[in-house]
Amino acid sequence: MVNLKHKRSARAATLLFTVLSLSSVHAQDATPDLSNSARLERLIAALERGGIPKGTAQVSVYFPPRKDTTQDAGKLPRLSLVPNLIRQNFDLNVLGTEKLLGRDVDKLELKPKLEGASSWNFWIDAQWSTPLAFEQRGFDGQLIRRAEYTALKAQKVLPRQNPPTPLTVRPGLERKIKAALPNFAPPQGFRAVSLKRGKRGDLQTLELSFSDGLNTFPLILAAKSTKAADGIAVRKVGAKNGEVWLWMVGRFPKSTLEGTLATVQGPVDVDDLGTFADSENSNP
């Protein structure tokens, strides 16, 4: 009698264990019911530290214009991220799940809160938590860039050895810009992330860059103008020791490009900015 009771209890326990195990497996398979902010954090982590699948990729760039629009690569290109600005300037939309190269992927969209900036779509591998494809679309919906895996070898993902250091907003640099470029205001949501000296042909330049978290554009100070072209605005402004040309490059509406440059009320202090760039480079 006692033995029978034990047997029944054991069967009941086994059944309960089986049911719990099955429900647990089911919970792992299904896409977890996460809040959007949790999903955004997972996406940022995937872009920053996600593993690198072994395979072949294809990278297409439509802006800036170039001869060979599409090229083959061993992996997806690195994105210049500023995580804090992504949280501040983008809304995450979950567009559903898809199959890519036979694997389950979550399709996610980062839509800019502010007009004029580019939006991004990501295809994140559900199991590996790493992107298998992403694309950038301009303010007008046009495809600017797309990178995607075209084949995966051995269904294997390699851990990222040296995760890239994310860009950060530089308040010190922004104070310097405010003093050297009077009244300059980048497009809303964009913050200064770097300054360096450059050399384009024989031309010495000072090159600032701004980011909204995912989209980055340069503002170049040079002694010469550049020819008008798609996505480029130029303006000549007075400087403390003469004149300087400002070039802004980016996939923005023309009014944004020209309006941004128009905010500068000279005279520009090129030397001060140059000294700051030198101190930055010598003490990174």
Binding site: P65, E207, T216, I220, A222, S225
Partner: protein, 89 residues
């Protein structure tokens, strides 16, 4: 409408029978014709020269090596290169 030089020649030739012509007037007319023709040739050469110079200048400016500069303006490729560098693609 007749060219004034043609009128002058016509006038000189129709003024009198061949044996009574004003030879001075005929000489004057022929001189004028020669001058007109030489000036016309000069104009044609000038036009051809100018057109050739324009074509050569146009070709020189159009087919400059990519990324080079002309005077106070440089190629937009410099700006695009800066963009690609900061963006990392």
């Amino acid at each position: 409408m007749k060219d004034p030089w043609d009128e002058l020649i016509d006038g000189a030739l129709s003024a009198s029978p061949p044996d009574e012509r004003d030879n001075a007037a005929v000489e004057k007319a022929l001189f004028a014709v020669r001058k007109y023709r030489s000036r016309s040739l000069f104009n044609r050469l000038l036009q051809t020269g100018l057109a050739t110079a324009a074509v050569v200048a146009g070709l020189t400016l159009t087919f400059r090596p990519q990324g080079s500069s002309t005077g106070s303006t440089v190629s937009p490729q410099y700006a695009y290169d800066a963009y690609s560098e900061v963006d990392g693609w």
